[in-house]
């Protein structure tokens, strides 16, 4: 009971593991490219929670700075990915990732 009521490192790691699992599930199962992108965002958020949790309980600033850079990279990644998806939609009239197979014989 004491373990449940005192918020420690394992609580944050549990939330992060769940977010990572849901993100992987979205990337694996969904056919809509935008929902796949949402899964990637969930995975990045899970990684950020881990960085900040370890940084807090270690007392250093390394995790905080790394999480800040992860947010910037996520913004760049979302912009590029959306631009690519809009181009795919212009060409194929669909964002279904399993129907974009014109390189296949």
């Amino acid at each position: 009971m004491d373990q449940l009521t005192t918020i420690g490192l394992n609580h944050y790691l549990t939330i992060s593991a769940l977010l990572l699992g849901f993100g992987l599930f979205a990337v694996m199962t969904r056919k809509n490219a935008i929902v796949v992108l949402m899964g990637v965002e969930l995975i990045l958020n899970a990684a950020n929670i881990n960085f900040l949790a370890f940084s807090k309980f270690n007392g250093g600033m390394q995790g905080v700075m790394f999480a800040l850079f992860v947010i910037v990279i996520a913004a760049a990644e979302a912009a590029i990915a959306l631009a690519i998806i809009i181009n795919i939609y212009k060409i194929f009239k669909s964002v279904d990732v399993s129907s974009i197979d014109s390189l296949k014989e």
């Binding site: 918020i7 977010l19 979205a26 694996m28 809509n32 965002e41 947010i71 996520a74 760049a76 809009i86």
Partner: protein, 171 residues
């Protein structure tokens, strides 16, 4: 704030984060996914406050909710004919996806519970970290800071170039 209030609020935000993340991946409607992601991002920002990273929490709200989520909604509305009611996005590999979800999450939770506790440092982060972030950015992390700003500039110019309206009329 007493310890039990702190615990209750933590569990509230944890449940909000995990529940809305589950709704993002389980609902078939893309618009519902996008709006549920809003609650996930807010819940994660609240968890950042619990981790005494207040600057990161504000950045999360500004960048994720104000930037990335709006971009995703633009993407949804550009590429889906949302005016057709009852349109669902398709799902494949459901079995292997569920296997991956259960395997990864269960394996990690088992590792946490089976491993002996973490060695917590005597001095954890306390209070506001805004000042510390400023010092670190301008001292140890000056080079990564400049590099990431150039990367962001290049990525945004590239995105604008890729997604621009083609005025030759053949799009």
């Amino acid at each position: 704030m007493s310890n039990s209030t702190y615990t209750v609020i933590f569990y509230l935000f944890a449940a909000l984060t995990v529940g809305s993340a589950a709704f993002v991946v389980l609902t078939r409607n893309v618009i519902y996914s996008a709006f549920s992601l809003l609650f996930t991002f807010f819940g994660v920002a609240a968890l950042y406050v619990f981790l005494s990273a207040d600057f990161l929490a504000v950045t999360q709200v500004v960048v994720y909710v104000g930037g990335i989520l709006v971009l995703l909604l633009f993407g949804v509305m550009f590429t889906n004919s949302i005016m057709i009611p009852g349109q669902k996005s398709e799902v494949s590999n459901l079995f292997f996806g569920a296997l991956l979800l259960l395997g990864v999450t269960g394996g990690m939770l088992y590792t946490f519970s089976a491993s002996p506790g973490w060695k917590i440092s005597g001095k954890t982060l306390q209070g506001s970290i805004v000042e510390l972030v400023g010092f670190e950015t301008m001292s140890h992390y000056a080079l990564p800071f400049e590099m990431v700003s150039i990367l962001l500039l290049a990525a945004l110019i590239g995105a604008a170039f890729l997604a621009r309206f083609d005025n030759k009329g053949n799009s």
